[in-house]
Symmetry: C2
Subunit: 333 residues, 2 copies
């Protein structure tokens, strides 16, 4: 769904005050204008991971060469990412995926054939049908750009909104964060390669089964695509709460801690790197047992990382000491 600016609701925040992103204002204006058009409740104010209409969950994300993927990413990995990032939006609404439509920029035949192989693989992996789409030729030299619309069935109890967190809720995240960010650094040759982190970057795993199972127990849910901190801030703003996050609780993998010291900087870097595609959700503390049982049953790690309170934005602590919120909270598309 819409990037950064789309999640901005006019409340005070950090990321639009950064002078390093002056061009963002026109994007913010544009998305604000789109929001004035998207008045139907199904659009959820363009302020959620997906639209929810008539029992269906619908999302559309694009990926552009040089922006969302590297020119030398394999076509199979690009196909995987295109599908996975959209299915992650469905997972965040507790939806069961059904099908996709693909918008495809043709390139050379070998790349296209390998992309199709990757598309076949990822659709089979998640049990999703190819419904249709379009192929276009773009002028020579133009970056490749792909769009995908994913459609799923909303959970019986309704798709949890991004805006449903309540003061008193416990805040949870699945899996580990920061692996994909480190994987990107490895892909760029900035780090020695490590299979776990590379796989997290190349082949993100949408948490579909867990999302469906947990949906009835949560107040708010979204996927972590741009960074834990920026996405937590978006959820806090959308919900009209303040999220108090405990840095020491952020779940870092053994693979990450094998190459990085376990210090605050490492934890903040992991929480602002993006591409995690984990689920961030809040629930009544009384739901903790149910959440733990579901997670254990599905072999998904879940970690409580903080609490929602009265206020706005995010507040960071490390072992009960306040820590300044970093200027850069995540990946800005």
């Amino acid at each position: 769904m819409f990037p950064v600016a789309a999640r901005w609701d006019g409340s005070p925040g950090i990321f639009y005050t950064q002078t390093s992103y002056p061009h963002r204002m026109s994007e913010a204006d544009f998305i604000a204008r789109l929001r004035s058009i998207a008045v139907d409740p199904a659009a959820r104010g363009l302020n959620d991971d997906a639209a929810v209409w008539d029992g269906l969950v619908l999302t559309h994300d694009m990926i552009v060469e040089g922006v969302h993927f590297l020119p030398d990413d394999t076509p199979q990995d690009v196909a995987w990412k295109l599908v996975a990032v959209n299915l992650s939006d469905l997972a965040a609404k507790g939806a069961a995926p059904v099908g996709v439509l693909v918008g495809y920029s043709l390139g050379d035949a070998a790349w296209d054939a390998a992309f199709a192989d990757g598309l076949d693989l990822v659709l089979r992996r998640f049990g999703v049908i190819l419904l249709g789409g379009d192929t276009v030729r773009v002028p020579a030299g133009a970056p490749r750009s792909f769009g995908l619309t994913a459609i799923g069935r909303a959970p019986p109890g309704g798709a949890p909104p991004r805006s449903g967190a309540r003061p008193g809720d416990r805040i949870w995240v699945t899996g580990s964060i920061g692996n994909a960010g480190l994987g990107l650094a490895m892909r760029l040759g900035q780090e020695a390669a490590n299979e776990t982190c590379l796989a997290a970057y190349n082949r993100p795993q949408p948490q579909l089964t867990f999302g469906q199972a947990i949906a009835p127990h949560v107040h708010a849910m979204m996927d972590v695509s741009d960074g834990l901190l920026i996405d937590a801030q978006r959820m806090a703003i959308a919900s009209g709460c303040q999220f108090g996050l405990m840095i020491e609780a952020f779940p870092l993998s053994a693979a990450l801690l094998a190459v990085r010291p376990d210090i605050i900087d490492t934890r903040l870097a992991a929480a602002t790197a993006g591409d995690d595609y984990q689920l961030l959700f809040t629930a009544d503390p009384a739901a903790a047992t149910a959440i733990g049982e579901i997670a254990a049953g599905l072999n998904v790690a879940v970690t409580a990382i903080g609490h929602a309170g009265v206020g706005e934005g995010i507040l960071l602590t490390h072992r009960a000491q306040r820590v300044a919120v970093p200027a850069r909270l995540g990946f800005m598309h």
Copy 2:
């Protein structure tokens, strides 16, 4: 939905044997590979205007600057076209449109704002909601590229396929053909401007109301987007019929005939120009009265242009004389 190659089903035809489009083979290969993935009946073999799933009709079309629209087309016209070409696919399946998701490449703020105004206008005009989408920045100098997914409700009796024509059917087309092609020539400065033809190019009108009303009476229906001849050939191939088309019956507007002589060349040029967004359909000859009444009631012109028979491809006549099928049948994306 998928261009040219997607509509190719392996039967003998004309357009793939043209040596002037050698690069098409890789596109054909790619779409053939996608077809091997899209095995669910909802995808209709990627050989129809849209997917039909669970009572819904879904389509995704992209438009690229310099390919599907001119760099100096107004942003409002580009927004109109992006929506209209997709709604035309819904019209071809007799669907009632519901909503759209937009994939948008950001450019300069003024262009984007004008596009949003145009999007607002066209969505209001056709009573369609903006459900969601995505915005991305593309590297400087890259052509603008937009995608749109449109969702509608299938007609109660089912969405008429492209492949349903039967020998003995009468072949019909709505409105006039060739106006938009002449409008494009006017936009390119090759012709003196004429409001009717310019409007047909700049603001195509999807035949939504007529499509819904006529759907129960047709055997096959599709929209004419790339040219009457190429689209008729696609329908003939998909249906396993031969379409006999009477060139003298092709409906040309007074606006077109005001600047072109009424000769075969004019009629063939109009039938191969594309961008008409009229509906092409076939029906039992006994349905002619009902079709005429529906058309009259909606103030839509319909013209019988030929008959389906046993055989394959298209066969052209002019006043009962055989005319060779031109090498170029329409617009090749």
